[in-house]
């Protein structure tokens, strides 16, 4: 069993979608406000990272992804409605043979969760008392494992990301690229319709908003 399961799952995702620097940056975050601060190298054995799912759900909109939350109610609603079950079902149903690679690798993440839950479950059994017979990992059924998952939600950051957001490295990549494209488009707007046109100003404000978000993320990365 991998000692750093989230590192492994994040690494497998990130290697598909982003550079190694992004992976390192994610793991170096320490701000409690930012979801990336929750992506540390810690394992499940650190109790402070284990949060009940209810508090994770409440905090799922901490970091502003204002574009997605304002403009796309349809998939936000679908994601929030039964997000975990829906996404997990879709992840398992997808035809693995047809697809060459998976960016989030849900089935393997779920397998990792189950194995972690087993190890957690066996650990908790030992704590309960020496008089009770502790179940071995092989004797735990998958239903017991899933029960343990629901009781002891492992990693807050993982569940926060799974709620209704795309992975942060992917968002970074998309926003950086969008910024480059829109900056060039702004020049065309200015030369085509003028600096004072309301569309030009709207685009300018939008670009400034994107830049502010990106700078805020970079500042958090520095800390």
């Amino acid at each position: 069993m991998d000692e750093k399961p989230f590192g492994a799952s994040l690494g497998s995702r990130a290697s598909d979608m982003s550079s190694p620097e992004d992976i390192r940056n994610l793991s170096d975050m320490s701000s409690p406000e930012d979801i990336r601060s929750l992506w540390t190298r810690a394992t499940l054995s650190q109790p402070k990272l284990n949060m009940p799912r209810s508090s994770v759900c409440e905090d799922s909109d901490v970091e502003g992804s204002s574009v997605s939350s304002k403009s796309h109610p349809w998939y936000n609603q679908q994601a929030r409605g039964d997000s975990d079950g829906v996404w997990e079902e879709w992840g398992i149903r997808e035809d693995k043979d047809s697809f060459k690679e998976e960016d989030l690798d849900k089935p393997s993440a779920l397998a990792l969760e189950l194995s972690r839950a087993r190890s957690l479950g066996s650990h908790l059994e030992k704590q309960d008392g020496d008089s009770k017979e502790s179940k071995t990992d092989t004797e735990m059924t998958s239903s017991e494992s899933s029960l343990n998952i629901s009781k002891h939600t492992p990693h807050r950051a993982y569940w926060m990301e799974q709620q209704n957001r795309l992975p942060l490295p992917l968002m970074d990549l998309m926003e950086n690229e969008a910024l480059e494209i829109l900056t060039k488009a702004l020049r065309s707007y200015r030369s085509g319709i003028g600096w004072d046109h309301f569309l030009t100003k709207q685009l300018q404000r939008y670009i400034e908003g994107l830049r502010r978000r990106r700078n805020k993320r970079l500042r958090l990365l520095m800390h």
Binding site: S68, S98, L182
Partner: protein
């Protein structure tokens, strides 16, 4: 045409069998589309569309505007997400080991409708010439297409949908034979090279019948 390495689209991929994006990829693409949708219309205008394609592809202005006019099938001057998704699938089909044949075979109807600019339910050779950078159809293949597949014989050098479908089936067979040959590491001896023109038509008709019976 190759997508710009490291760009967002470069990381996406089509399912090899159905030539479509997965749900996760569509979600990511939708997010990306909305990042570019500056004016909150759920559309991209021609300027934004041009700069997007100019950033991620090596196409020139003329080619980009041809694609824009093709996708703006409602003639509103803007591209919605449906058209954007179609474009991304076409780009990825080119990118991914020449999946164009598979893509055209799987989505022959939408492709036919895209190429049928004037809505006459017929595609002329000039349509193909205009879009050969998009679907990677070579000149010799085009000549063969109009020579061999204009079965209705209207001699107007325009194909209807059935003839176009026939062409896609034939191209798909060629592609699969090429794949097999590459697997066996032999040079393909394509059937059409050894067949006469009349036999080629008969071969194609037999393929249609086989295809229909499989459906």
């Amino acid at each position: 045409m190759r997508l710009k390495q490291g760009s967002f689209l470069w990381y996406l991929y089509l399912d090899k069998l159905y030539c479509l994006l997965s749900v996760r990829n569509v979600k990511a693409l939708l997010e990306y589309f909305h990042l570019l949708d500056v004016h909150r219309n759920n559309t991209l205008n021609d300027v934004l569309f041009y700069h997007f394609l100019h950033h991620v592809t090596s196409w020139n202005r003329t080619q980009i505007m041809i694609v824009f006019n093709m996708l703006d099938w409602n003639a509103v001057g803007e591209i919605g997400f449906d058209q954007f998704y179609m474009l991304v699938c076409i780009l990825l089909a080119q990118q991914q080991n020449h999946l164009e044949e598979q893509f055209i075979f799987r989505h022959s109807r939408p492709v036919f409708e895209l190429l049928d600019l004037d809505g006459a339910l017929r595609i002329g050779a000039e349509n193909f010439h205009m879009y050969n950078f998009l679907f990677n159809i070579k000149k010799e293949d085009l000549r063969e297409l109009y020579h061999d597949f204009d079965i209705t014989g209207d001699r107007q050098k325009r194909l209807n949908y059935k003839e176009f479908k026939l062409f896609t089936i034939f191209t798909m067979d060629k592609y699969q034979e090429r794949q097999k040959a590459e697997k066996n590491q032999e040079l393909p001896n394509h059937p059409q090279k050894s067949l006469s023109m009349r036999n080629r038509k008969e071969y194609c008709l037999s393929k249609i019948v086989a295809h229909k019976s499989n459906l």
